[in-house]
């Protein structure tokens, strides 16, 4: 790997010389380009391979899977595995496929996203614009808490939920997602609201607007982009969750990820790899769609979630 950098050095320096306006015409097949694009294509192939294998496998019948290799395209395309994965694959107790898990995941994700964003945005707003004594302390605990492994807090939460009478229900899981979404989202909103011009806030104060009026009439409408970023972050995060789904719900409320794992890793019977792969694609579809549709915003989302402080 290091020799790539060495070989690109002489021509590479030329590349940075050219300004943004007019690039120097250089041969498309220069050694530098071959190395850069060659490496990128090889890497891209490696990252795309699993997606390709998933799709190809899910479109084959079982006899073809047993005979051919996993990379060969399907000879006879069949959508049967998809139908089975969706509506009749067995997950331990019942055999109604992933559809149940899909709707559970929807029923978990939608309220969780709304509740967590509502709470976190108001928190971030209070922290940025209405500082009160002790607020920073609580906020610090919250942010440090984001690094604590979930396993440390799981059992106390089980007890709290049980005391509240919502252990094993969707409500309980939604509450848990809202709690664990809070650190990063609050940070996100706090930093965003703090970056808005203070004059806006002051003018609204002079006009007599209070805490909620400023939030609903000025801050929230101005912050659509950050709300979208937070939404992307939460939808993908909550949809992909496995641990909380297993711990805090009963089997009839299992989210899609848990059901998927049960379908694929159940020991009984013949393994139907094509159905498994179709189920895997179905489970990955929602976050993938979010990712492809939102593009740059997704990148912004993870960057905003990643940069602490």
């Amino acid at each position: 790997m290091p020799d790539i950098a060495i070989q690109t050095a002489p021509t590479g320096t030329k590349a940075t010389l050219s300004g943004p306006a007019g690039r120097k015409p250089r041969p498309l097949l220069s050694p530098r380009n071959i190395i850069i694009y060659g490496t990128l294509f090889v890497a891209a192939a490696y990252y795309l391979l699993p997606l390709y294998v998933m799709v190809v496998t899910s479109l084959k019948g079982m006899p073809e899977i047993r005979l051919g290799n996993i990379f060969s395209p399907p000879v006879e395309i069949t959508f049967e595995p998809w139908v089975k994965a969706w509506s009749s694959a067995c997950t331990g107790l019942n055999c109604d496929g992933l559809s149940r898990g899909f709707w559970n995941s929807v029923r978990i994700t939608v309220p969780s996203v709304i509740v967590s964003i509502a709470i976190a945005s108001v928190n971030g707003y209070a922290l940025a614009n209405w500082r009160f004594k002790g607020a920073e302390l609580f906020f610090s605990i919250l942010v440090v808490g984001a690094f604590i492994p979930y396993q440390v807090m799981i059992y106390p939460i089980v007890i709290v939920l049980r005391e509240m009478g919502i252990y094993g229900t969707l409500t309980g899981l939604i509450l848990v997602h809202s709690i664990f979404g809070m650190p990063i989202l609050t940070l996100l909103f706090r930093n965003y609201f703090a970056s808005l011009p203070e004059e806006l806030f002051k003018a609204a104060r002079i006009d007599g607007a209070g805490f909620w009026a400023i939030y609903f009439r000025i801050m929230a409408p101005m912050s659509l982009p950050i709300f979208v970023v937070a939404m992307i972050l939460q939808v993908t995060g909550i949809w992909n969750d496995f641990l909380f789904g297993v711990v805090f719900t009963r089997p009839e409320y299992y989210p899609m990820t848990v059901q998927l794992n049960n379908i694929v890793n159940s020991v009984q019977g013949v393994k139907e790899y094509n159905v498994n792969m179709a189920a895997t694609i179905l489970t990955g579809a929602v976050p993938l769609i979010v990712y492809f549709v939102s593009g740059r915003l997704f990148v912004r989302g993870i960057a905003a979630g990643a940069v602490k402080g």
């Binding site: 050095a9 850069i36 500082r131 690094f147 807090m153 498994n276």
Partner: protein
């Protein structure tokens, strides 16, 4: 904006009251769940809780039993191997990809999309896909054998001594895109004049990267390091999906140990002790970082 509360506007008490009411969820979460929950778990790790938590203190008993358990020792070894290699490889691969992407290439967006999409997927999905690709009967091994090399052996998920590397392959596939993205943002943040200056001085590109750019990207590296490291300690879903801890106990990890003892073996004390050890591991990573970032960092600035 720090001075709002101190400027002494009228009805300050009422105004703060509103903010306080709005912050109740945050305060409750911070105090009850994050602080309270953590202290509760640490406290009960010194008890002999079995099926239900109870306050009968037994000192360091649970910890002695924990470290005497072969499964826990294997978990820790796995975490160490997995952690070491995933840190090194994701930083190196992530940086190399970012450096290549920074060469004013065409189709940058397409490449970025390809490298990052695995990150959008759940660990369960990632684990299952790689379980399938690494399946010796159908996957890479059988494909290479069918090409003529009939003695070719590549079945990491079925060989206890290397199973953790099989998990590592999937983890790197999932996570390097994020590292690439963070590194690329770091590279874009570096002043173009640095490159011009190094070119004027005739310093080769690789040397500029190694001696100037990478040291300048220190904050990005540290942030990335902390993100990867705290993710490593939590690794759970991937192992469950890919190997369920097998073959035998060869791919067990601490997070799985905690879950199994808390919710399946009904030995809460062991679960609490194990999760407290995880907490300590994370503290070892976070405390120096927090110190650098917020405490000792000031004199550098």
């Amino acid at each position: 904006m720090a001075g709002h509360a101190k400027t002494g506007r009228p009805n300050q008490l009422f105004r703060n009251l509103n903010a306080k009411i709005a912050s109740i969820p945050m305060i409750l979460t911070a105090v009850v769940i994050f602080l309270g929950g953590t202290l509760w778990t640490v406290l009960y790790s010194f008890t002999n809780s079995k099926l239900l938590p109870r306050l009968k203190f037994v000192g360091l008993d649970q910890y002695e039993r924990l470290w005497a358990a072969p499964r826990w020792v294997v978990s820790i070894e796995n975490l160490a191997i997995y952690g070491f290699f995933s840190l090194i490889f994701s930083l190196v691969i992530g940086f190399l990809l970012a450096a290549l992407m920074d060469q004013k290439i065409r189709f940058e967006n397409t490449f970025r999309t390809i490298f990052l999409y695995p990150f959008a997927l759940s660990f369960i999905v990632t684990g299952l896909v790689w379980q399938w690709i690494l399946n010796p009967e159908f996957g890479v091994q059988s494909v290479v054998r069918s090409l003529g090399w009939t003695t070719f052996v590549f079945d990491p998920l079925y060989t206890p001594s290397i199973v953790i590397y099989g998990i590592l392959i999937a983890a790197l596939w999932q996570g390097t895109g994020l590292v690439m993205c963070l590194m690329l943002a770091g590279l874009r943040g570096i002043d173009e004049d640095i490159w011009k200056a190094s070119r004027v001085d005739g310093i080769p590109m690789w040397k500029t990267y190694l001696l100037i750019i990478i040291p300048m990207m220190r904050p990005v590296f540290i942030t990335t390091l902390v993100i990867i490291a705290s993710g490593i300690v939590k690794v759970y879903d991937l192992v469950v999906a890919q190997t369920s801890g097998g073959p035998g106990i060869a791919s067990e990890v601490p997070a799985k140990y905690v879950y199994d003892y808390m919710f399946q073996a009904q030995n809460l004390g062991q679960g609490f002790a194990a999760s407290t050890m995880m907490l300590i591991t994370v503290a070892i990573i976070i405390v120096p970082w927090a110190y650098l970032e917020f405490g000792g960092g000031r004199k550098r600035a």
